[in-house]
């Protein structure tokens, strides 16, 4: 059984770093893993496209149209878990 805890926390930091350097996060905001990025004003309608680009390039996965939903993209935790699911599926498919 694959344990994913190590990659999860590393991915969490990668995603957080990407967001902090590419989007505006006010100094007073603590970017919690479960907070909605849209609600925090960190990303907006076209910002999501940059996030998708980052995910595909960094983690080597292809984001399907049907996966463009808030559960997968609207929080650091959501993104990290989505990436983990995709990668474990890719291993199974090999």
């Amino acid at each position: 059984m694959l344990t994913l805890t190590e990659p999860l926390s590393a991915h969490r930091e990668q995603v957080r770093d990407f967001l902090m350097s590419n989007f505006y996060v006010p100094e007073t905001t603590v970017l919690n893993a479960n907070d909605s990025l849209l609600e925090q004003g960190v990303i907006d309608s076209t910002g999501v496209l940059e996030v998708i680009g980052f995910i595909e390039e960094t983690f080597g996965i292809t984001v399907e149209d049907s996966e463009l939903v808030p559960e997968n993209l609207d929080s650091i935790e959501g993104i990290v878990r989505y990436v983990a699911r995709k990668k474990s599926r890719m291993l199974v498919d090999d």
């Binding site: 609600e39 925090q40 004003g41 309608s45 496209l49 049907s66 463009l68």
Partner: protein, 520 residues
């Protein structure tokens, strides 16, 4: 009690009387009936009145597309006040400007926006009432002396709205729009302006009780706001989303809620075009799609035709100053895809030349709009108002000089040619280059800045900035962009920033923006 001459909030009141248990609003997990909206807006209206809001006072609503924003809108009207919806992407400096401009007596907002509204709210002397939904700490709440939590404000006073004081020529809303000078201007709209616009638009879209309208545009944008007003006016249902960031979500919702109407902007349609699996979603409930904000490219028209062949596509055009000017009847879209159509019902349009003479069909001129949708002017800006509102044919009447250049063909169909000012349309939103330039100039190390719009597949126009650094300053594109994000709404932040040694100028030393458009 039946009101023979309605005010805007009678749309909600009447629908609540006729269809109390119908779900009026779907917002995330929440489904809210007409009766609930009516009762909750009564409560907030009574609270506003009890905390000092009187007839004609401004109530600012600074929030996302949420149930509270919806309830707050109708509540402020019931309190005989004037509503100002402010885009939740607004940053602190601009919010301060807006509060200073309209001097509100009350503000309705959400806790997650605290880091933006905190200082401006405390500095705003006119505020006697603040209602905050969502999460906010007790200490932070206490620091805003006149603030209470939404759940407190909503408890009492649900049964009856405050006594009605307004008549239909009183102001209902102030909608802020970007101005070419860089300072936002508050478009003043009366109940009559808005009821006229609603009736006209609902009639050509044939909005009725069984419609389910999906709104993914900000309620602070008049296009988004009217989706709610028309839905409630017809006793229909509004499905309210925060944005169109997640295209799959939109398609899922259309299928799940049986959405009949999808109002969009070209950027939304561009995003949908990019989805390969779009054909897999059941979009058969859609009976109409609308577009405004910027011209709908022919390839998007074709995409929509293929995707939802049974739906009517409406290309439309308008200004906040009169809500909407024209619409293209769907049956004409194939033979006149580049036209924005004919005057909406109850509106007259014509073109004038530089000498104020009417222009014949085929010629290009400035568009003038006449009708009861035309604004009362810009709040507190008589000079700017005088540039746009000029005497009409009848004594005491005003018509709107739009500042847009158009052409009318021999069948009376309008074609948009260009703006007289430099306004950029990006993602369907108006962006004043001056406003972005002002923001850039306020960044330390920036000596000069110039902003232009460049064509962009997705955005319509992308914002491109040229920045000249101060002597010795070391500017970095990313850092400048970050500084812009602190000051401006996201859709105003330049997509690209070029750091240049100097800006091109004309012989008379004026900034030569045309030279900036050329590839280099």
């Amino acid at each position: 009690m039946h009101e023979p001459i309605p005010l805007l909030h009678d749309y909600l009141i009447r629908s609540a009387r006729e269809l109390p248990d119908k779900v009026a609003l779907v917002c995330g997990e929440r489904r809210v009936t007409y009766a609930e909206l009516d009762a909750h807006s009564n409560a907030i209206a009574n609270h506003l009145q009890a905390t000092g809001v009187v007839r004609g006072d401004r109530v600012v609503i600074f929030g996302d597309n949420t149930v509270e924003t919806v309830v707050g809108f109708w509540a402020a009207l019931k309190a005989n006040a004037i509503v100002c919806l402010v885009n939740p992407l607004t940053k602190r400096g601009k919010l301060e400007y807006l509060l200073n401009d309209c001097s509100p007596a009350a503000m309705i907002t959400d806790g997650h926006l605290r880091h933006i509204f905190d200082e401006p709210a405390r500095a705003c002397r006119s505020l006697s009432s603040i209602i905050i939904s969502g999460e906010i700490g007790d200490a932070d709440l206490a620091e805003l002396h006149v603030a209470v939590r939404w759940k407190r404000a909503i408890i009492a006073g649900r049964d009856r709205a405050p006594a009605r004081k307004c008549i239909d020529i009183d102001l209902a809303t102030i909608v802020y729009t970007s101005g070419s000078t860089g300072d936002p201007k508050g478009v003043m709209l009366t109940h009559r302006n808005m009821l006229t616009a609603c009736t006209s638009i609902s009639s050509y879209l044939s909005i009725e009780k069984n419609d389910v309208i999906l709104n993914v545009l900000p309620l602070a944008f008049d296009y988004g706001l009217y989706q709610m007003i028309m839905a409630f006016g017809a006793g229909a249902r509004l499905v309210l989303e925060r944005s169109f960031a997640f295209p799959a979500q939109i398609l899922i919702l259309i299928a799940k809620e049986g959405v009949t109407g999808l109002p969009g902007v070209p950027t939304l349609f561009a995003m949908l075009s990019g989805l390969k699996s779009i054909g897999q979603y059941d979009l058969s409930s859609l009976r109409y799609v609308t577009n405004t904000g910027a011209a709908l490219p022919v390839k998007h028209i074709r995409m929509l035709r293929e995707l939802v062949p049974a739906a009517s596509i409406y290309s439309m055009y308008g200004l906040t100053e009169c809500k909407r000017c024209t619409y293209l009847p769907p049956e004409d879209i194939d033979r006149k895809p580049l036209s924005v159509g004919i005057a909406i019902p109850n509106t007259e349009i014509w073109l004038i030349d530089e000498e104020d003479n009417r222009v014949d069909p085929g010629g290009i001129g400035q568009l003038v709009v006449r009708g009861a949708t035309v604004m009362q002017g810009y709040w507190g800006k008589p000079e700017a108002t005088a540039e746009r509102l000029r005497p009409g044919p009848l004594p005491g009447e005003n018509v709107l000089y739009t500042g847009d250049y158009c052409r009318i063909d021999d069948e009376g169909y309008l074609y948009f040619v260009g703006r007289s000012d430099e306004i950029i349309k990006s993602r369907g939103e108006k962006v004043a280059p001056r406003e972005v330039e002002n923001a850039l100039m306020s960044i330390s190390g920036v000596r000069e800045a110039a902003v232009i719009g460049v064509p962009d597949e997705l955005l319509g126009e992308a914002i491109k900035a040229f920045v000249v650094p101060e002597q010795g300053a070391n500017l970095d594109e990313k850092a400048v962009q970050k500084e812009c994000q602190k000051r401006l709404e996201s859709f105003m932040v330049p997509k690209s920033i070029a750091i240049v040694p100097s800006l091109p100028r004309t012989d008379t030393q004026k900034l030569n923006k045309r030279a900036l458009q050329l590839p280099h």
